[in-house]
Amino acid sequence: MIKEAPRENRAARYLVSGPPLLFLVVFFVAPTLIMILTSFRFPGEFGGLAPIAAPAEKISGEYGFTPEAYQFFFSDVLYAKIFLKSFGVALATTLICLIMAYPLALLIARSEKRFRNLMVLLVVLPFASNFLIRIYAWMIILGPESAFSHFVNAILGAFGLAPVTLLFSPFAVLVGMVYVHLPFMILPLYTNLEKHDASLLDAAQDLGATAWQRFWRVTWPLSLPGVFSGSALVFIPVLGMFAVPDILGGTGDILIGNLIKDQFLGTRDWPFGSALSIMLTLAVLSVAGLATWFARSATGQRA
């Protein structure tokens, strides 16, 4: 009887965790392995891949495996630069999202219960329309003849500053990125903040803490798990995003996502595209690992 219970538990655990585990194996592990394999092959003459085995008829061209794609990656500092730039954009987007999302999430969490669901609904409402359409809408908002552009330039003009172009700029890319990813920061923050025990704040107040101290020493440390998961949900997708710089970016706004997309479409260089993706995955994993380590040591200190 005593031994039975844990075994049942274990079976149940596998039953519950099995499908998501299978999902990960099929849609993450397998594709990653395919990508690793692809990155060590030769590109085909017409795109696609050159054969692994020697072709039956003796046609010219290479076959088999090669580290060429990685050699090409490290042959030029160019690709490191583009990684650095993409990480910069992802970091900036994450920080802006955090600064914008935190007060809003706090507001929702502290408002009356009957309004909360409505407010959360409003946060996710933009998902109801297609992502590309929302980005195209920003093209109109930021366009040189738009009311918003005229307004911004009127203010700049009042201070004697030269007018600026908003569309097709790094600024537009950042606006698009923040706009698209903001809900992904708000929701985890809200779920975290909503669970906070209000009596902790009362206790802090009774002990003489100021409003700032109550936030900085009670609410903020407790919300760190929400901050970390929200940051991961923003940072990682931004790294792979290519549509926003494509549509809103100017002549210099190329990110790693655009480069990878281009290898599979225009350049038809699958091995190099795969090598870039593998390098990106490695970079993301190390960032995620670093974040977990930070999260652990941050929460560990308080425990």
Binding site: I82, L132, G143, A243, I247, G249, T251, G252, L265, R268
Partner: protein
């Protein structure tokens, strides 16, 4: 034809939905029409919006069959779908270099010219191209030029030339239109323009010449607003852009939009005197097609001047069919940017495919250009 990559996403989803509909309604339809419709269908793998609706209706009446279309928005997408195993397409409409690939892959069926009496209508200048000597596999369908579109009033006001690539490459001109210019987000097309401007062939693969071209591009880049493959159509038409490097049929669309919405300016377009890229799309028979008889009937039907002219009247594409000229609206037929004269025609070039090593090098050059 131009790559409309960003449109591809919604279109692909529409396509998926369209593919699902026959499964849902298929049973009902087969009961009504029996197997006749199912077996009597010509499958055309075509560009989006690349045949006039009334042409389809007339062909279906003529052949007593159905014309079913699948769509692609650039050659790479078409090649990728075929490589992934798409079958059952009787006819495809690839651009020259993609057709070259298909021929070398052995993916096409040779034509039976005895079934194509209307082939005599095609202007010999578009026959016997380097991609398909003797037109063993292909019949020219329509073409596009890569050229310059501009806000005619603005450019006249500023006194800028419109017949040279200099307007998008030379700082002395660019200074007056800074931030109002876009160029194509295409390695091959932009390099071709720069190479042409420098007096080289659009297909030049000499690395020294490439370097010169990329230096030219990097010098001009600060003056450009963006690299754009599709949004320039709208931006030209509403007046945000003054000069755009793009495709002739897109400029035709922009000019039409500007007129329709009653703008106070007009959109002009012209082919630079240094020469430009010509993209000739041809009808070819895919190996996996089941109805070569209908396919030949369709090709011959499209070679008829009246049918061929309908496409040009719809989208402003260039037309290699001499029999079509009398049916084409005069404002299009007399437009030199759509129908280049013989002298300019000599300076047009069709792009060849690059080998894999050159593709990789060009991609690095392109990344460098963008990162600057």
């Amino acid at each position: 034809m131009n790559p409309r990559r960003l449109l591809a996403l919604p279109l692909v989803s529409l396509l998926l939905i369209a593919l699902l509909i026959p499964f849902v309604t298929g049973c009902a339809r087969q009961d009504q029409d029996g197997a006749r419709v199912a077996g009597n269908t010509l499958h055309l793998f075509n560009w989006n919006n690349y045949i006039a609706p009334q042409t389809i209706v007339r062909f279906e009446e003529l052949c007593n069959c159905k014309l079913a279309q699948d769509y692609y928005s650039d050659n790479e997408e078409m090649l990728a779908k075929l490589a992934a195993g798409a079958t059952g397409h009787d006819l495809i409409v690839p651009t020259g270099n993609a057709m070259d690939t298909l021929i070398r892959q052995g993916a096409l069926k040779p034509l039976d010219k005895s079934l194509l009496p209307n082939l005599k209508n095609i202007n010999p200048a578009y026959l016997d191209t380097e991609f398909d000597r003797g037109n063993k596999y292909s019949v020219p369908y329509a073409y596009t030029l890569t050229l310059l579109g501009f806000n005619a009033e603005r450019i006249k006001e500023l006194g800028l030339p419109t017949d040279t690539w200099a307007i998008i490459f030379e700082p002395e001109y660019l200074e007056k239109i800074k931030g109002r210019v876009t160029v194509l987000d295409s390695q091959r097309e932009l390099m071709a323009a720069a190479l042409k401007y420098l007096g080289y062939s659009a297909n030049d693969t000499d690395e020294g010449h490439w370097k010169q071209a990329s230096d030219l591009i990097i010098r001009a880049k600060p003056y450009w607003a963006a690299f754009s493959n599709t949004s320039y159509i709208k931006e030209l038409a509403i007046g945000n852009l003054w000069v755009a490097h793009g495709y002739s049929n897109d400029m035709f669309q922009a000019a039409l939009d500007a007129t329709k919405t009653g703008r106070r300016f007009t959109i002009g377009y012209s082919t630079p005197k240094e020469g430009a890229v010509l993209a000739l799309d041809s009808l070819v028979l895919h190996r996996s097609g089941h109805r070569p008889d209908l396919a030949h009937q369709f090709i011959n039907f499209m070679l008829d001047g009246k049918n061929s002219a309908e496409l040009t009247n719809l989208i402003g594409s260039g037309n290699p069919n001499t029999g079509a000229m009398q049916y084409i609206r005069p404002e299009i037929a007399n437009n030199k940017a759509i129908f280049p004269d013989a002298e300019l025609h000599n300076r047009l070039e069709m792009l060849h495919d690059l080998d894999r090593k050159k593709r990789r090098l060009l991609s690095r050059l392109w990344t460098e250009i963008k990162l600057r």
